[in-house]
């Protein structure tokens, strides 16, 4: 039977080859590999995979086109519902989304949906021509933030004929895709091209525009019929332990922002510096922690250690990223909790004081709670600490928009269709969910675009 064929995995650059540069790690499929993998899909009548995709990619349809070698058609099929396939194919946690639901996964390995999506998007970029769209003449809609949530919402609305303007506070577009996720996992060229594609749909992008301060949401509503807020996560979390404000202690956001956005690895040709020591400790166990650790290695750190208070099983990072980090030589100190940082005379961090933990009873999240082992403290010599324990939703717009209702922890409150407590104002992505995923942010953008369309063009429905 066809589905007995083994899943084809992408070729990767070896760890030794990749740890000192910022080039991408996996190499993608060749056309032959893509067609072979696509043929494993049994073209389910009731495809469960699609239920796992927040942006409803027409998975069996596009995979069939790949199997037939019709890559341009496959690309068009994907782009009917997903404006950022080259990004999704790389950073979607497919193993928890579409591929988790794929029927082949019940007895063997699921179809490599994400890799196929990546292949098609890359093929299109290299061979295809993006057809320019008609310019829109419909109602005007404002989108705040050019991360995955904002880009998806804007792209979908433009396709429906609305005149969309994205306001982005940074000097470049893409949100976390640009300033957070490093080059070797998501090349910036690809993000730029996906943004260009959204622009060809007729979306206008204004950078250097901090909504809340330049224009309030109320002011935007005078010129725009609806507003979508996709302002993402902000405010990095700290643990509140002694020494956390010493020099040499970064939030992961600061560290990645310096490197990815301000190109600190080119210092002094680019003028923003980053200081990276020989011994780096990264606190946390998510994708952000893995990224910060792997960046440190590439910037020349001799020893990079991940400090995580539970075990690898509980780590929220994607399995393949943990695997790659290990291959590259990152040291994992699990069941380890930093409790203080100590400085050398000059005020620069010198040691991380840690406690050894063990797993106790399950807590509210269902995971076993880490508890400190008495008298287990030890000191780890470090000269850089990167705190990657998460971010809260960006507080600026809620601060400047008192009528906008938020949860205690900062998330903007929305209805099932993404409507906030203000009429005609929608929100989605990390500003609503806290730190989540690219694909859930895109799903929110899509859902809000549909709701905005229902609001502004009731006759169509």
């Amino acid at each position: 039977m066809a589905e007995k064929k083994k899943r084809l995995h992408m070729q990767e650059r070896t760890a030794a080859e990749r740890v000192r540069d910022f080039q991408e790690v996996p190499l993608g499929y060749t056309p032959e590999e893509a067609m072979a993998e696509a043929k494993r899909c049994i073209q389910c009548k009731n495809p469960l995979c699609v239920k796992g995709c927040p942006v409803e990619v027409k998975i069996p349809e596009f995979i069939k086109l790949v199997a037939e070698g019709k890559f341009a058609e496959a690309s068009r099929k994907i782009k009917e519902t997903n404006a950022l396939p080259a990004v999704c194919g790389r950073v979607c946690p497919q193993e928890e989304q579409c591929e988790l639901k794929c029927i082949l996964g019940v007895k063997g390995e699921p179809v490599a949906i994400g890799t196929l999506e990546r292949f098609v998007a890359d093929w299109e970029r290299e061979h295809g021509k993006q057809e320019p769209r008609r310019s829109a003449a419909g109602s005007r809609v404002a989108v705040v933030g050019s991360g995955p949530a904002g880009l998806t919402c804007a792209g979908d609305l433009a396709r429906l004929g609305y005149q969309v303007t994205i306001f982005e506070s940074l000097h470049v577009t893409g949100g976390v895709l640009t300033y957070g996720i490093p080059e070797f996992r998501l090349p910036k060229k690809i993000v730029d091209l996906e943004v260009e594609y959204v622009k060809t749909l007729g979306v206008e992008v204004k950078t250097d525009m901090l909504i809340g301060n330049v224009y309030t949401i109320e002011e935007l509503l005078k010129d725009y019929k609806a507003v979508f807020i996709g302002s993402g996560a902000g405010l990095p979390k700290f643990m509140g332990i002694p020494g956390e404000n010493l020099d040499g202690v970064y939030s992961a956001n600061e560290y990645l922002f310096r490197v990815n956005m301000m190109k600190a690895w080119k210092f002094p040709e680019s003028l923003t510096p980053v200081k990276i020591g020989k011994r780096v400790a990264v606190v946390g166990g998510g994708n952000v922690a893995m990224d910060a650790a792997r960046v440190s290695l590439r910037l020349g750190a001799a020893e990079v250690t991940i400090l995580y208070r539970r075990t690898q099983e509980e780590m929220p990072a994607r399995i393949e990223e943990i695997k790659r980090a290990r291959e590259e030589g990152i040291v994992f100190k699990i069941l380890t909790l930093p409790v203080a940082y100590h400085a050398a005379e000059k005020g620069w961090v010198k040691e991380a004081e840690c406690l050894q933990m063990e797993l106790g009873e399950p807590d509210a999240s269902g995971r076993r709670r880490p508890v400190a082992i008495p008298h287990s403290e030890f000191r780890l010599p470090v000269d850089t600490v990167i705190v990657a324990i998460g971010n809260s939703p960006n507080p600026l717009i809620p601060m400047r928009t008192p009528a906008l209702k938020t949860e205690k922890w900062g998330g903007v409150i929305v209805t099932a269709e993404g409507l906030t407590s203000l009429p005609s104002v929608y929100a989605g992505g990390d500003i609503v969910r806290g730190a989540a995923t690219v694909i859930s942010a895109m799903g929110d953008g899509k859902r809000a675009a549909k709701a905005i369309d229902r609001l502004l063009s009731p006759v169509k429905q």
């Binding site: 000097h171 224009y215 902000g234 990095p236 404000n245 040499g248 939030s251 002094p268 507080p395």
Partner: protein, 280 residues
């Protein structure tokens, strides 16, 4: 992109730029700042909005040339485009009718207090302004500030203009004279702000300072601007830059400002070489 309409040298180390930015001019309030990236490869640096003209659609910034990016900014002539300009940023000053307000500016902070002096005057407060610099050559904005101050006092470290001494000496004397002060605003180098706070604290006079930690995005994302105020972490770029000076951990701020000193010199040297190369 934002065009430089006018460029003036206020002294050998301080320049004033008038920049075309109607959307910023419209929204700017006292106490707010912009982030400038003078050239694509430069840093994002924060500078106070020293004035805004809504009718002309321009803002004024005044900056001291201290390192790489301010050097690059200063190399741009009139008519040139600034690569990126973002603002207004931060939370505006709280301006209310209080009575007598003493506004203190030190160094380039003298220019930064101009909007506050104007606003306190406009709302009907009596404004006593104290400005201080190392010497006469470094004094700026005396005329502009005089126009909005009930009284303006100049101090210089070497006595080459006004009173010989520090701004805090004058502040002490005003307090000692028994004058009822509702609020003190102090903007300038960290040591100056700290001394002003130490001076007012025993008398329970509310003192607002404008902090200048390192900043990166300046929109509340990276946390580099964190300062400890009243024992809590605050992000100066969104919750500040103004805070109650009696609550600020100045020692920590001073240490955090030094973090990059050594490498910044490298960037500065690089820029100087580049700019010289261009001139040849």
């Amino acid at each position: 992109m934002a065009r430089i309409i006018k460029k003036e040298l206020l002294n050998e180390n301080v320049s004033r730029l008038t920049v075309d930015a109607p959307h910023i001019a419209r929204a700017a309030r006292p106490g707010q700042f912009v982030v400038i990236i003078p050239r694509e490869d430069a840093e994002r640096i924060p500078l106070t909005i020293a004035d805004a003209d809504v009718a002309k659609g321009t803002i004024t910034i005044i900056f001291q040339i201290v390192g790489a990016t301010t050097t690059v900014l200063d190399s741009l002539p009139e008519g040139a485009e600034i690569a990126h300009l973002l603002g207004p940023l931060g939370t505006p000053s709280h301006i209310a009718k209080l009575g007598t307000v003493v506004v203190i500016g030190g160094g380039v902070g003298i220019a930064e207090i101009y909007p506050a002096v104007k606003a306190h005057k406009a709302i009907g407060n009596e404004v006593i302004t104290i400005i201080g610099a190392r010497n006469k050559e470094l004094l700026i904005y005396e005329k502009e500030l005089t126009a909005y101050s009930s009284r303006l006092v100049v101090t210089t470290d070497d006595g080459s203009a006004g009173r010989k001494g520090f701004v805090s000496d004058e502040l002490k004397d005003i307090i000692a004279s028994g004058k009822k002060i509702a609020e003190v605003v102090a903007v300038g180098p960290v040591p100056m702000m700290r001394v002003c706070c130490e001076t007012t604290k025993p008398h329970g006079i509310k003192t607002v300072v404008s902090l200048n930690p390192l900043m990166l995005d300046a929109t509340g994302m990276c946390g580099v601007c964190r300062v400890t105020v009243g024992g809590q972490i605050k992000f100066a770029c969104v919750e500040g830059p103004e805070f109650d000076g009696h609550q600020v951990d100045f020692a920590e701020l001073t240490a955090r400002l030094k973090g990059y000193k050594d490498v910044e010199k490298q960037a500065h040297d690089h820029v100087c070489r580049l700019l010289k190369g261009l001139e040849k």
